[in-house]
Symmetry: C2
Subunit: 422 residues, 2 copies
């Protein structure tokens, strides 16, 4: 990770972990207040006790307030469930879909390319994977015809029960338009599918004119029947955004329009793994309820947050500009998230060499890059891509100076590679 932690979050966690510091340290007053409040919400006023399986009620309420502010619509904290990172929530919700229907094997629609957690979890739970291709020529948006095609084909033999949308996209870096989200909601409603909205990059929006719309907001504003009937679970994490707190393992999900009996079952199933980590929850609280304007920590918090997000925006531009101008590369604007997923044209000779090396062409390219320069990218094969196209994912996380240097080395490598396999 190239991200420096947000000081305020770490101060609060330190005090929740070791409450003596609230008295003995000279940490800021607002951080002390927040640590005290979090401790008050915890059983025995200690991070050492199990919390409720859905998380500390006070923190769930703060998350609900965050969502209300984000969307401009009500959020019931009973529908907010804290998790050990977004992963736990996603896995638990996918597990709900395991039953076959009318003898048909259950299946879930996932984007191609997709974040491999989904494909791995579908295999783990015996769920079918129904890939729908993102539309590379349209900024990796969701194409309704393609969704219908994928659904129709799969429905011949499978019960397609849910659709996963990742927005902003991983590994593709797109930010969906409001219109696109509305279309997806109608599509899910029409086919009676649950909607899983992976919105962990909701703070990571860089490109001009792009705005993050949560599925919850759009569904609410579309009115009936969608706002009352469409099942939706939205996932959030503290590992992304301006926080980058991957190691602390914190996140939440908001559950909309789920059958109450199913939701009760989900909460019961969660209780078997006891509770999300208390200190991860404390970090979630800081994300949901950051320092208020005028409070002692506000200026520093804002400066750090802005610095991280501005720097990511700058890096997203560097990556895009570099790849865009490289021969044989095609790269969409990195509108959000933390990745570029450029397409590379590989010559017949390079493809031939890859075949000899017994590797898919994109894997062959990525290995060459790694071996010759030390730069590590993930081949498109790991995420899925249209047949006979070649991509790789690279993050925008390296620090700006390093990134510029890296892109320079990358360009030289690519030229050499292209010459070698011309």
């Amino acid at each position: 990770m190239g991200q420096t932690p947000i000081t305020y979050i770490r101060q609060v966690i330190a005090m929740v972990a070791h409450p003596e510091l609230i008295e003995s340290s000279n940490l800021p007053k607002d951080a002390k207040d927040q640590a005290r409040q979090i401790l008050c919400g915890m059983s025995g006023h200690s991070a050492g006790a199990y919390t409720m399986s859905c998380g500390v009620e006070l923190i769930r309420k703060n998350v609900a307030a965050y969502i209300e502010k984000r969307d401009g619509h009500k959020c019931d904290f009973n529908n907010v469930c804290l998790t050990t990172g977004a992963t736990t929530g996603i896995k638990m919700v996918l597990e709900l879909l395991c039953s076959s229907i009318d003898g048909k094997c259950p299946a879930v629609m996932v984007p191609i390319p997709q974040y491999p957690l989904y494909s791995a979890t579908l295999v783990e739970y015996g769920l079918g994977q129904v890939g729908y291709f993102l539309d590379e020529d349209n900024n990796w948006g969701l194409d309704m015809q393609e969704l219908e095609r994928a659904h129709a084909e799969a429905s011949k033999t499978q019960a397609v029960r849910a659709i996963v949308v990742i927005n902003p996209g991983n590994p593709t870096g797109q930010v969906l338009t409001r219109k696109n989200i509305e279309d997806v909601i109608k599509f899910a409603y029409k086919h009676k599918m649950m909607l899983l909205a992976d919105e962990v990059y909701q703070h990571n929006i860089y490109a001009e004119g792009c705005q993050f719309f949560s599925f919850k907001k759009v569904i609410t504003e579309m009115g009936a029947p969608y706002c009352k009937e469409q099942e939706l679970v939205s996932f959030m994490s503290i590992s992304k955004g301006y926080m980058g707190e991957c190691g602390l393992r914190g996140g939440w999900m908001e559950i909309i329009n789920l059958d109450p009996a199913v939701q009760a079952h989900l909460y019961k199933a969660l209780s078997a793994i006891l509770c999300p980590t208390s200190l991860g929850q404390a970090a979630v609280d800081c994300v949901a309820k950051p320092p208020a304007e005028g409070s002692p920590s506000y200026e520093q918090w804002l400066a750090e947050k802005t610095c991280v997000l501005d720097s990511l925006a700058q890096r997203s531009k560097i990556i895009y500009e570099t790849f865009k101008n490289m021969k044989g590369f095609k790269c969409n604007v990195v509108q959000g998230a933390m990745y570029a997923f450029p397409r590379i044209e590989l010559s017949p000779k390079a493809i031939e060499a890859a075949k000899k090396a017994n590797r898919p062409p994109d894997v062959f390219y990525a290995y060459k890059l790694l071996e010759e320069t030390g730069i590590c990218v993930v081949p498109g094969t790991g995420f899925g891509q249209k047949p006979n196209t070649h991509h790789f994912r690279t993050t925008i996380l390296p620090q700006t100076e390093l990134l510029a240097e890296m892109m320079d080395i990358f360009q030289k490598f690519h030229k050499k590679f292209t010459d070698e396999f011309a």
Copy 2:
């Protein structure tokens, strides 16, 4: 939880969370050193980065050293995998056993009574549950005839692939003898079953003459073929012992004699959930490597640890002595862990009243107790028990004064209950 946290653990975690405190605070030098070492082991020297999926290598090595010291035998840190509490590890290992064999449904032997995580997870993964009754008349030990009976019956229709042993016992509070452990190992070996040793209460040993023997130690000392072939996974947690750090979610498992390809698969599957929480791992490090004798924090650490364990030992006696002398109660010595699981005789009239209330007799009793006194115990039904016997689990966690008062109230309730349903 009635446990006060160990100061040293919290100091280290606070500094790992907010490294500035290493310079700015007057926390003890040894805690600072340990925090610094942990940070050095973490990517980017920060708790904010994902760690390896099996945990920070430095901490795994410290756990391996802890195990070596505990058992007097070598431990390879590559076989130590840090987890988000013991639960994650247990679930991942059970999931390995999901494949049917020769068309027979896979199944796992679990003690009755048992900790409900096991029954819940077996249902979740479609594994059969093969209950073996613990021998109440023999201090809840494992009876080999009973194990053979359970195995033989189940094997007619199922592929019995593993046996779970909880030592010290939850909810039964026994500490297994070395002889008993040897017998179980021979039994598992004979029937080619993996052994899952839930040893999370290994620090909680109270009764005179009782000693904790890890399955790893016993298997090693039994020599070939057991030490070389018997598959064993042992689980540990920071939620128990003298630490009681339930909310932090930390633990580990040690994997012995697993097929390397299976172990590699397990580690790969773990990578899908990214990593155990970094601050939970920091707490694990403190448990594996507590302050050394002579270091600034040693005296306080030892005093706190001793205080917790002595107090638990005292409470285990209070509970045992009280229940032992109550009419209609039968209670084994609470040798270890944190629970008593007394057996209660319920009169025909009480059983009749329970039937009318549409509740199992033990649940009826527990509800009456809760409603009339506010004391909460878990009915034996929740853990399993021999047909027509009635038990409940109570913890030894309430503080000693509260516990004495509670036992007093309990006695009065029981007398009243007995009179009412005489």
